[in-house]
């Protein structure tokens, strides 16, 4: 609801036609202000999508991510810095607070500059491991750009990333190859479901320290697809933190560089399109889901005599109380935000939304099927029979996937037992019919007896004489 009001107001206030879902204030932190000219095409692309950029150095004293308790900037882009840390205003603690306040961060690293230890320890908290040597470089002798790195092989030429696994949507697909010059490889911890690699190194790549391991590499940090060149972390509040291993791939000269692959095929890089997709995902322009109406109602004919007949077609929407074994219809409306507007959301092919009806643990977990579409949302519905357990239950839609906003909608209802007059009547129970017939026979016999007693004459046969 708050998003609805905020985006409506933003739509009124703005004239640009592309917009991040939250808002558009982007802070770029770079040590040398002159360096920012190297990325001018990238800044231009961001501004044309509606971001308002501010540039600051980490050393500037009045740099603050928060203002009056709220975020001063909605997004943060950190370029590699030569100094040991990011200054007193961007401590790892403050960056974590920034993410907890729904700020998005794109952190760019470079193999040319040693990564500050503050950054390494921040990434360690997120379960992202950087090589222990400060100077680490990813090379691949099989997938490099012959035009620029024929000797050193430190400019990797990669194909567009594929979906991570079956059932996930790929937001980073581009046509063409992606040049990744002088990247710092990362290794992602296995335990966290919040981490996902966006771009992985090919299987012959490895990371080494050019200062110490110039001759041969004996101790491996990681190789192949275990090296993640671009990693994504989506916090539980759906704030996004992307670690970009190579800041140089955002530079103007790599946006449409002519590259030559190992096999001699020449072409242009797709870095510009990839940078657009990467920044769009990180700054909440792609992969953002929004929940509209959530409705549930009783899906049965009302019993005779209790219908509230004030109007035809009256539907008691979202009642607070149901009865056990009621048939209930549940629907939820979900839209996806793509750059500028909301579109109906379709889950990836083998994926499905699920509705849980749960007390402490789910009694039902059933798929939510898309039944209809409005102009900018899809309505998913499910019908279920409430369990024969009374109590306080929740309708829960818990849809969390890598690269998509976390959806968690909970509606609480009471489920009561049968009332005394809701049980089936005895004449409806076929096994009771002999007993009901017995009652009828008794009643008829009684009335006949009363009549006989009142109006009988004494019997004329020998029975009387015997008495």
């Amino acid at each position: 609801m708050r998003w609805l009001v905020a985006s409506f107001l933003l739509a009124l206030l703005s004239v640009v036609h592309a917009r991040s879902f939250n808002s558009s204030r982007l802070l770029v932190v770079t040590e040398e202000i002159t360096e920012k000219d190297k990325y001018s095409t990238f800044w231009g692309d961001l501004e044309s999508r509606g971001f308002s950029l501010s540039f600051a150095s980490p050393k500037s004293p009045d740099l603050s991510l928060f203002k009056h308790g709220a975020l001063a900037y909605d997004h943060l882009l950190l370029l590699p810095s030569k100094s040991k840390g990011l200054g007193p205003n961007l401590t790892p603690n403050m960056l974590v607070n920034y993410i907890n306040a729904n700020g998005n961060i794109l952190l760019a690293l470079s193999a040319d500059q040693p990564t500050p230890s503050a950054i390494s320890s921040l990434l360690l908290e997120l379960d992202i491991f950087l090589p222990p040597d400060r100077n680490a470089l990813v090379v691949d002798h099989f997938n490099f750009d012959k035009a620029s790195a024929a000797e050193k092989h430190d400019v990797l030429l990669l194909t567009s990333p594929k979906p991570l696994r079956n059932g996930l949507r790929n937001y980073f697909e581009v046509d063409g190859s992606i040049a990744v010059p002088r990247a710092v490889g990362q290794v992602l911890g296995n335990a966290s479901p919040l981490l996902a690699p966006i771009l992985r190194a090919p299987s012959t790549a490895y990371s080494y320290n050019p200062k110490d391991e110039a001759e041969a590499v004996e101790e491996l940090f990681a190789t192949g697809s275990q090296l993640s060149l671009i990693s994504a972390f989506q916090a539980r509040n759906s704030a996004r933190f992307t670690v970009l291993g190579s800041a140089e791939m955002l530079e103007n000269k790599w946006f449409d560089a002519k590259v030559k692959s190992q096999s001699g095929v020449e072409g242009a890089t797709a870095n510009r399109a990839f940078a657009e997709k990467l920044s769009a995902w990180t700054f909440q322009e792609l992969g953002v889901l929004k929940v509209g109406r959530v409705e549930h109602y009783l899906n049965e004919d009302l019993p005779k005599g209790t219908a509230n007949s004030s109007e035809v077609g009256f539907l008691d929407l979202n009642p607070k109380i149901y009865r056990i074994k009621n048939d209930v219809h549940f629907s939820i409306e979900i839209s996806e935000y793509v750059f500028t507007h909301l579109v109906p959301f379709t889950p990836p092919p083998t994926d499905e939304l699920q509705l849980e009806f749960s007390m402490l643990s789910p009694f039902h977990r059933i798929p939510l099927v898309p039944t209809s579409q409005t102009a900018n949302s899809t309505v998913f519905t499910a019908t279920l029979t409430l369990p024969d357990q009374h109590g306080i239950f929740n309708f829960i839609v818990n849809y969390k996937r890598p690269f998509m906003t976390n959806i968690y909608e909970k509606r609480t209802v009471t489920v009561r037992h049968f009332a005394h007059d809701e049980w089936p009547r005895s004449f409806a129970i076929s096994a009771a019919w002999p007993w009901i017939a017995g009652i009828g026979v008794v009643v008829a016999g009684w009335v006949a007896f009363v009549a006989v007693w009142l109006w009988s004459a004494p019997a004329e046969d020998g029975l009387r004489k015997r008495n």
Binding site: H141, F142, A150, E151, K152, H153, N190, P193, S203, T204, Y206, Y208, A214, E215, A216, V217, E218, E219, L220, T223, G224, S225, K325, D351, Q354, P362, F363, H364, R365, I366, P367, T385, P387, D388, K400, R401, P402, S430, A431, W433, P434, I436, A437, G438, V441, V443, A444, V447, A448, V450, A451, V452, L454, W455, S456, A457, P458, A459, D461, L463
Partner: protein, 287 residues
Amino acid sequence: MRLPSSLALAALAFSSACLAASWSFDDATLTVSSKGSGADGGVKEKLSPNSPSSKAITLPAVDTLKIVLTATEGSTGKRPHQAFLTLHEPTTGLEESFPFSLKENGKGKVEVTQKDLPYQLLTSASPLRASLILASFGSSTPYASHAFDLTLQLDTTAPPTAPTTPERYTPKPVINHIFKFQETSGPRVISFFFTLAVLAMLPVLFGAWALLGANVDHLGKAFGSAPIAHGLFLGSVLAMEGVFFMYYTSWNLFQMLPVAGVVGTVAYISGSRALTEVQERRLAGER
């Protein structure tokens, strides 16, 4: 030692003009042996750079797989920057690389035991594809080729401990609540049969009464002398049964009680008058 890049480029141009060397290897032997068995026990196999080994290699639990080779650039033995033995699991696509420790002249070895392998490769259902990768900086063509297939013989007495399954965001299993047992009635045929049996008892009862001499002979006489009393009384008895029927089907207690009260009062008053009439007949000796 790193040359300045311009010098390196010049050297590159010069060398590429001379020859485009390619990495390869010579004198490669693969052995699978356990400690203490020496060179006699275990598998010994020669590897060729051009074609993968046709023999499937098995690595038992306590043994060591050792590959000794001499890496060559062109025709001279040299140490490449990257000399890996990569094990690739075909179904999941996971792989792990083990670096060779080579000397300056390119000679060296790598040793792999089951302890070095991660859980996912150890428990692979199909054999692992082992490739040799020799590559370095510069313009020489790198070498990467499938060398042999490796099957692992796990120690059945001490199976590898599975790591805890990490939590991933995927659809969870479908749950449909299993409802408690619902009582049902028996077959309707049996109900019908017994209902008819019970209903048939009514004529039997009336027949038995008739045999015993039951009659309503004084009906005319009673109605002749006290028609209102008897009529009201019989009516109120029938009405009471009607009240009970309505209470059974639709009325609630508060609807039924007033009616029952009225009917009962009528029954009491008319009944006492009717009984007076019966008493008159009894005193007249007709009962």
